[in-house]
Symmetry: C2
Subunit: 309 residues, 2 copies
């Protein structure tokens, strides 16, 4: 049994070849260049995938990790912020046709990362387990009773899309408040509306990484921005706790490297807002353990489940 | 096999006796009078339960429905708004001792209602299924893969406790915004802060029922209050959809009788805020079908699962 895993992301496309024990036997990656036409991007995905298939062999099962929302039942990428112009693209059929007609499935990349962190990473032995990836946006996945949970539509879970209202009455997604983009937006607003001195004022473009560095160097305004984003993350986690009562929330993605100055305020908000402390296990929020191949690993796991099912 | 089901609520305590096919063979109810001491209340629960046990028989299994948050693993009522002074009361042990030492479990009343609506009511054949009960507060339950879902702590799901922020920056629970209490609070605020004429001004005490009647009779202020509560309910449902992607949301409880003027705005908010229409099945929000014995029925179902497990 051989498994082909493909991780098609907004920045990079990766592919790997696994045996039945999920040993990675070959791996390659390329830039996705999603601003090219969909056809060009798809051609690159196919080439990347085919590059890891050993000569004369064919995969027993293929799984594609891709940005959501996607329809795993029909094998479509519905649309995605990170994929301009993509609309109901039948990526499953395209890959199957290009790869020896092997059984092929597609799944949300954060869902597959949840599966991998549950099998081999920070969520091992925990049920329910929630995985959050916090970078430009916020994606997520849930494992319930040992299985990937995707709900009736197959599109769950999308914690980044839970809604909050702001003091001005507007409705915002969690990912607009607690992601890298949220931190950058908050920084721009604060720099405009306050006179507080800050090293951030010396920069024409302020992103989450810069805010994080400034905060680490003692910039008070930057620290308050990270704290506010952490508070929103905490409120998002409060809702996850009241709805899923997870044993763990594993957090990956670039923004999670902010560490304690981000997660501390989140934990304070959780402690303050939770209905009952019995909802909050020790060591609830944990950093992700698996690295950049986490989605490939999750794809390999789901592909294997798919053929043994 | 005989099953004893007990439904201990803030207002009424009910008990019923079922055979293995879940035919209800006996039933009684009494007022809970929760402002009496816990001992007096518990004595009444025991008397009510014993009243339905046929002479000379004993139950094979007992399940108690009670308000949350409760700890089903340890058999405790942790505390509850509706039960002043109750704290970690071991109701399971008390009932077991009083009822022939039969295997006894306890579960959140809204969770049991979810189980019953899934087995016999509006959620039949739907998975995942969410049940909401909207009255003084908002309770809820979820069925996932055909089973009652309660998470790691056993305390899930508590949709009434998901958090929103208000324009004044304060954090509120969904049940403070979209329940009967929420509607009454909103009415008081509106009557104070606006000059809009309203029949509600003729009353010294305004509750959700009164607001509903006024709205039905064309009172514009009352209508806008119900509409706002419906909007908050919709936002709560948007979060449930993004997290559980349920096939159905069954709504029971006294406030659900407001009907279209409450659910219409909820549905409009869902349509406006959902990430992808594929999350929203036809006929998503449905009225509960089972009546006041819904929790007894759910308790009987769980008690039966418990002995056959």
């Amino acid at each position: 049994m051989s498994i082909l895993a493909i991780d098609f992301g907004g920045t990079r496309t990766r592919a790997a070849w696994y045996d039945s024990e999920l040993n990675q036997l070959a791996r390659t990656e390329t830039l996705s260049r999603v601003n090219d036409t969909a056809e060009e991007v798809i051609t690159r995905i196919i080439q990347t995938a085919q590059a890891v298939i050993p000569p004369g062999q064919q995969p027993s099962s293929i799984c594609i990790a891709a940005p959501g929302p996607l329809d795993p039942h029909r094998g479509l990428i519905r649309h995605a912020k990170t994929l301009p112009g993509w609309k109901d693209i039948p990526l499953v059929q395209i890959i199957r046709d290009a790869c020896h007609n092997a059984p092929t499935i597609i799944e949300n990349d954060a869902n597959l990362a949840a599966l991998a962190e549950h099998a081999y990473g920070s969520a091992r032995g925990c049920d329910p387990a929630i995985y959050l990836t916090i970078s430009t946006g916020i994606g997520g996945g849930a494992i319930i009773n040992g299985k990937l949970f995707t709900g009736w539509s197959g599109l769950a879970i999308e914690p980044g899309h839970t809604r909050f209202t702001l003091p001005d009455g507007s409705i915002r997604r969690l990912e607009e408040l607690a992601s890298g983009t949220g931190i950058a937006t908050l920084a721009r607003q604060r720099l405009e509306t306050s006179n507080q001195p800050s090293i951030l004022r010396a920069h024409t473009q302020v992103d989450a990484k810069l805010v994080g560095e400034a905060a680490r160097n003692g910039d008070v305004l930057a620290q308050s921005i990270i704290r506010e984003a952490g508070h929103w993350l905490g409120l998002g986690c409060v809702n996850l706790l009241h709805l899923f009562s997870p044993q763990v929330i594993v957090v990956g993605g670039s923004v999670s490297s902010l560490g304690e100055m981000f997660f501390g305020p989140a934990q304070a908000t959780i402690a303050e807002q939770i209905l009952d402390p019995a909802f909050v296990p020790e060591n609830l929020i944990r950093p992700a353990q698996l690295g950049e191949d986490v989605c490939l690993m999750g794809a390999a796991l789901l592909a294997r489940q798919h053929i043994s099912a």
